[in-house]
Symmetry: C2
Amino acid sequence: MIKYILLGFLNYQPMTGYQLKQAIDESTAHFWHAHHSQIYTTLRQMEGEGLVTSELLQQESLPDRRVYTIQPAGQQVLKDWLNQTQTEASPIKEDLLVRLFFSAQRDPIQVLTELRLQFELHQAKLAAYLAIGEHIVNEYAKANPAWKRDQQFWRLTLDMGIHYEEMYIAWLQNSIKKIETL
Amino acid sequence: MIKYILLGFLNYQPMTGYQLKQAIDESTAHFWHAHHSQIYTTLRQMEGEGLVTSELLQQESLPDRRVYTIQPAGQQVLKDWLNQTQTEASPIKEDLLVRLFFSAQRDPIQVLTELRLQFELHQAKLAAYLAIGEHIVNEYAKANPAWKRDQQFWRLTLDMGIHYEEMYIAWLQNSIKKIETL
DNA sequence: CGCCACATGTAAAAAGTTACATGATTAG
DNA sequence: CTAATCATGTAACTTTTTACATGTGGCG
């Protein structure tokens, strides 16, 4: 999957592994993230497959940067992947729910502490997403008029992030209440 | 993670790999799933670590079954894991959002078809969760009075599943509308 | 002086998926 | 006769995570 994300970004413009990591952290991290080690190795692997090419640029007083450029073969792979529609709902893996599922024997105080911490974490995430929303509307749209249509799709994924966090926060509040009165 | 789920179930009663797979599919699958291959290998691995023991029971006209029983060491591992509170929100990996993020250049008809299929899939999931909720209330609570407290925690995780699907469905409806009028 | 940003990698381990492999019974 | 349920496993592969590894320049 990380392969397609990298190709997706490179399809806009040539980028380095470092920049791709940043782009992911800033935009797709709330539905897909990756460590830099995976990004660098996947880029090299894709270069071997002829999906991208790279060139090393030297900089004064800063480390060299390896810029990757998507190739027609890479664009085709991306396109093919997008064209073969998903026929399943993606599975969820949510640590907290696993923990909660087996928490009946735990000290309720500890469970509540954990849920309250999650409450704060998810509120922070929500706040961050809302800020990104503002950012997209105010800055990005003006700076890159060519990506106006793209931005509408990015916005949809951000909306999901926002709704998800809102739902999560409401559920945490409700769960905390229920455990308190158990 | 699958390790703790298996220990969590075995902490209630001895079970076979097959039964554990069933238990996971029926209860935790909406926040954590596993293939049978992973379950069987993890059980064997835990046996090697002394967290569980197993014995082979022969059956007439049915295959042998290997029943796993949790050991004190396994209970300790489970307890320790539950006691060390998560300090982060679990990351999300949602294929559909990755696809949507890079879908500006795709044929909108195709995107809509994909979203409408997801709409049906998530509606089916929601219906299934609601049915499970009924099941828990009506049958399970009466059959296992010793797990009454546990059931209240199970119920909380199911609630999340329900709220998640409701949110997802609403977001899909809204996204479909937006793309239709794009 | 210490931390952050810049910048790229490798290695090893853990986790998860897919495919291969077998075989009896029972219900439709 | 065909599909599903019961029942367990291995092997190969892919993906992801964690740790190791290095080095400069700027800011407070």
